[in-house]
């Protein structure tokens, strides 16, 4: 620091006069603020305050003096006019009151949560209705159907998700097979690995894993995209051209995912079974030929079709939830992140709920032998 100590705010008493000098600024006072104020407060207020030697006085310095004086100018004071105006302003400052606090805030929040959940469910219901109407309208006017958006979404969600689905699907197949192997070997029931792996992967794990990966990967992207367009008023621009955002943004995504998800499920099934088959060969000595031959015999094809149908349902669900949350985004950064999070959480939850419901409905179908 090049500035000398003389610039520190200080005062000296000369008979009945208190001469203040130095720089009474925020940066100089910082840290000693309260101490300085207390010291000044103890000085007899009848004294003559001489502020004319002060080198600089900013609002922080002025507040300090003002508080030391108890919120009014002392009777005897000498200062420059430019400083006087600062105190004149201080005299008018209304204090900032604490933010309004309500009692029973917990109930308040709970109520708000319940109401919002109700609104969300109703909004989801309305959005599904709008999607169906738009779909029907699209069938009647195929020319205005958003074909390009559908194919763009298929490219973004389909081939681009294959690497991650391959990795996860393969590992799940390996793990299922590996975990079952030791138990099966104990009972000498080695060949049942085909039933276990086939049934669990085709019926449950294939569609579930695909849906969960796609909610995280594409659902969040949809919400962020639609939400971002909401923030930049692009949705309003669309509406002014007479194009409902649901038709142009959400419907094509729902259709694209309904088409692409069954194919992705099929792919995940295949790599999962491949992983299971490799482990069956290594751990249980079941040849790949036997595995492939046995599969269609012991696992009814119903399971494959159910898994693929689930894929289509989950695809529509993901686009539906993601679109709903995207439209809910308000023009600020916190809203965008919150809606993206709830979009992913909600779609994964619903995927699992629907999966459980379907498991109950079809409990007696496709068990095989």
């Amino acid at each position: 620091m090049t500035e000398s100590n003389a610039q520190q705010p200080h005062w000296e008493r000369d008979g009945q006069t208190l001469r203040l000098s130095g720089r009474w600024t925020l940066r100089r006072l910082g840290g000693n603020f309260a101490a300085q104020e207390a010291a000044l407060r103890n000085i007899n207020p009848e004294i003559v305050w001489d502020l004319s030697a002060i080198e600089a006085l900013d609002s922080a310095g002025a507040i300090l003096l003002w508080q030391a004086w108890g919120g009014q100018l002392p009777g005897n004071i000498r200062m420059e006019d430019r400083h006087r105006s600062i105190f004149a302003r201080l005299a008018q400052v209304p204090p900032v009151t604490a933010p309004p606090r309500r009692s029973w805030q917990f109930l308040d929040q709970l109520g708000a949560f319940l109401i919002e959940t109700g609104h969300d469910l109703w909004g989801l219901f309305l959005l599904m209705g709008a999607l169906l109407l738009e779909f029907g309208r699209g069938l009647r006017h195929p020319r205005s159907f958003p074909w390009r958006e559908i194919s763009a979404t298929i490219v973004h969600t389909g081939p681009n998700s294959l690497p991650i689905l391959t990795l996860i699907g393969f590992l799940i197949g390996v793990v299922i097979s590996f975990q079952s192997a030791s138990t099966l070997a104990q009972y000498g029931a080695n060949i049942y690995i085909v039933n276990i792996a086939g049934l669990s992967i085709l019926r449950e794990f294939g569609p579930l894993i695909t849906a969960i990966i796609l909610s995280g990967r594409s659902g969040s992207a949809f919400t962020a995209q639609i939400g971002g367009m909401c923030v930049t008023e692009e949705l309003d621009a669309l509406r002014t051209f007479g194009i409902p955002p649901i038709r142009r943004l959400i419907l094509p995504k729902a259709i694209a995912l309904a088409l692409v998800m069954p194919l992705l499920v099929l792919w995940t099934d295949m790599v999962g079974l491949f992983g299971a088959m490799l482990v069956a060969k290594m751990e249980l000595g079941i040849s790949t030929g036997f595995f492939i031959e046995q599969m269609p015999i012991v696992v009814p094809s119903f399971n494959l079709w159910l898994g693929i149908a689930k894929g289509a349902i989950f695809g529509i669900l993901i686009a539906w939830i993601a679109g709903f949350h995207g439209l809910k985004v308000k023009p600020n950064t916190t809203s965008l992140s919150r809606e993206t999070t709830s979009s992913v959480v909600m779609s994964i939850t619903l995927v699992i709920l629907i999966d459980a419901a379907l498991a109950l409905v079809f409990a007696n179908t496709g068990g095989g032998g």
Binding site: G30, L90, P94, V96, N332
Partner: protein
């Protein structure tokens, strides 16, 4: 004053990659003045402003700001220096997750040398200074009008008792009434506190109302600097268009009529 000049730019150059925005640019900004930078799009007004704030590196040349050369300082001294100026960004750049109060208190809290009640007093003063009501303090930026966003941003820029205030198009996006109010507010706060203002503006009304001097950027250099009435005499295509286009003429005529010219 020990420092008659707040910022001295000597032979400054800035660039994006291989594209030079400015070269051999000289500009001196006096302490306590309001200097406006004008120039067509692409002349690098914002880049120059960001270079002064230290957000864009200077490729060549030397900058002395508040008597110090930021390039020669270590990190701690640089941060201490940065706390001596405030910035009002074009869109306000208020933290949308924080309330108005928290936005203004933010630099004070981060500084860490003040207690809560002191911060609260300072924020109350700043709110009053920019003409906001105490009950605006708990609103979120999303609930504010464009003019209020600028006011809160100004209060935040001034929270640390800035010695230099950088304004990037302070009146853009405001209606003429709100813009005029903001100009008046800036003038008044400037008179009360006496900081240095460097602002970018295209708004001729705003320039006439606030700026002490105007610097015209063209061809990567400062074409001319001076009071508005002086620089409009300079013969250059950009200046001719800027001040002697239809809008400019109208304003200058009204200035002459009021005897300011």
């Amino acid at each position: 004053m020990a420092r008659p000049n707040a910022i001295i730019l000597t032979d400054i150059a800035t660039r994006f990659g291989t594209h030079w925005i400015q070269r051999h640019l000289d500009l001196t900004i006096h302490c306590g003045e309001i200097l406006a930078i004008v120039g067509g799009s692409g002349t690098g007004k914002t880049t120059l402003l960001r270079a002064m704030m230290g957000l864009v590196p200077i490729a060549e040349g030397q900058m002395i700001i508040l008597g110090k050369n930021p390039q020669a300082l270590n990190l701690r001294e640089q941060i201490a220096l940065r706390q001596r100026w405030g910035v009002l960004f074009q869109q306000g750049a208020l933290f949308s997750a924080l309330t108005v109060f928290e936005n203004i208190a933010f630099p004070l809290r981060e500084w860490g040398h003040l207690t809560r009640s002191e911060i609260s007093d300072l924020v109350a003063l700043k709110l009053q200074m920019v003409g906001l009501q105490p009950n605006d303090a708990w609103k979120l930026p999303a609930e504010l009008s464009g003019g209020m966003v600028k006011r809160v941003a100004l209060a935040r820029a001034l929270a640390m008792e800035a010695e230099i205030l950088f304004l990037d198009e302070p009146t853009s996006g405001l209606d003429p009434i709100a813009a005029a109010e903001f100009d008046a507010l800036l003038r008044q706060v400037h008179r009360d506190i006496g900081f240095t203002v460097v602002m970018i503006s295209h708004d001729l009304d705003s320039l006439a109302a606030t700026a002490d001097r105007v610097a015209v950027l063209a061809d990567g250099k400062v074409l001319t600097v001076g009071p508005l009435t002086e620089i409009q005499q300079v013969d250059h295509p950009y200046i001719r268009e800027f001040f002697h286009g239809e809008r400019g003429e109208r304003l200058l005529t009204s200035l002459r009529a009021t005897g300011e010219c």
